[in-house]
Symmetry: C2
Subunit: 327 residues, 2 copies
Amino acid sequence: MNPQLEARLAGYKKLIQGRLEEVIRKGEPVSLYDPMRYALSQPGKQLRPCLLLLSCEAVGGDPEQALDGALAIEVIHNFTLVHDDIMDHDELRRGRPTVHHRWDENVAILAGDALLVLGYALLARVDSRHLPAILRTFSSAILDICEGQALDKEFETRVEVSLAQYYEMIEKKTGRLFELACQAGAMLGGGEEQTSAALACYGAQVGRAFQLQDDLLDLLGEEKTIGKDVASDLEEGKKSFLIAHARHTASPAQLMTLAALTERRPIEKERLTAIIALFEEIGTLAAARAEISRCLEKARSNLKVLPQNPAARDLEAFIGAIAERTF
Amino acid sequence: MNPQLEARLAGYKKLIQGRLEEVIRKGEPVSLYDPMRYALSQPGKQLRPCLLLLSCEAVGGDPEQALDGALAIEVIHNFTLVHDDIMDHDELRRGRPTVHHRWDENVAILAGDALLVLGYALLARVDSRHLPAILRTFSSAILDICEGQALDKEFETRVEVSLAQYYEMIEKKTGRLFELACQAGAMLGGGEEQTSAALACYGAQVGRAFQLQDDLLDLLGEEKTIGKDVASDLEEGKKSFLIAHARHTASPAQLMTLAALTERRPIEKERLTAIIALFEEIGTLAAARAEISRCLEKARSNLKVLPQNPAARDLEAFIGAIAERTF
């Protein structure tokens, strides 16, 4: 990663984590606040709040103005993770037991709810001039995320999911929060409407690339690096890019081989290798990589409206960091 | 019920239900929006939005100014019901299958989440002068409600819960939303701080009385009227007023009888009659009724700060309607 970007992200993450700990330090009953603290205490990559702060600075704003928005988006992201993990029966997240696995489902439902509310409580602290638009933008994005999650769950029980349907789902489920981060950062930084809209497109494309990578990593990543079980998408019947693309491109014989290889669960290492080879043969892995490049190019082209400044350069470097992502 | 109050509530309910249907009419995927519409479509008593509108008018405001706040509180109340029903494994609500029982838990988690977000989206439409305070007040109240629900679940696995702990739990879980309704209505109506505070106290006391009645109705109500199974609190080990009071007042012999009577589940009709007689003998039912009267008296005394107007008179009549409540 570009050292300037690396230094900036490290600074942001320290700031965000410090403030988050202040926000959540107190609070009883512990049966509610301990799982909330747990969800927030092993920070992930904090890409969304970092993008929010970067977007604020890129339009000429002071990141202090956007900090509560950045905290809100990180807390709300964690709300979605806690509830999604229940719905997906996932037992590992960032290398640790998920909230519902460590406690129970009731605890996780309630901790997730309270994280969402805490996110809104943080939003209430943003500059009142921006508050109506910020509240509308956040709420509309989170509703879209719920819609994306509903589609994701619906697709699990469907055989046929087109690439268009797949893209609609990930645009809502993953892309929207990246889009929101960049748009809200620009709004809080006092950016003009056109600039905020361009940054929103940048975020949406970065988010889409990120989700395509996640779909690849489910197959190609290592458990230690991705912090969860390998091939869990395949085992849960998720309609990832891989499945949607292969169904639409593979020959009948290849589809039969794929069905046979993914039928029994769990999928052990030898079969995983065969599945990877099959996706390679179908052209799915190359198609995913090509689409990731296209998204990142589109993201880059949206940065043209920005003034020349270090944060704008870091948003460009961010594209490179996503491109070489292995996490 | 006082006919003036009855006419006013009927008008408010029609207004609220009509607008709610507009808000939720569209929306896809249906796997998300159908359960949301279902949760909102068989309206309950709508006490909270009605109290919000009444409080707005009582301080001299126009109920149109407060309508989005009223919709928000009704939608958010329904969010709490959908998630509480999952946590409590309740299969009936207002005489119909609960969302998780009719669909499944994943659907109910997500529909509840989306209802909460929809509530905030409605709040974003209130007059921007009031928005920062309204957003803070709502978020703080909903966090308290989550805390109250966490306490309620914690208490199920505890043997000993004092009356003070019981009161803390219901103040948060039930009282806070009534308090919020009255406070927010006064704020949106442009009421002065002192008046809003008095109306908040009025709401908190009405909410406390309402919960004590709910605790009594669990034992004394009829399934048809209360829309759920009789004695479900007892069966789930809920620490209602009845249990908290009896544990603190009954003789050791009475406690042993109570334990024996409530040991096997489900509780059939003959044992229910014996349990009611025992609570009567311990003095628990009389104590609950006395506490309800005390709360409603305190609520009434908080209305003194209001100007003389029809809405203020209806808030007073509301106390009478709660006192004679059988629903």
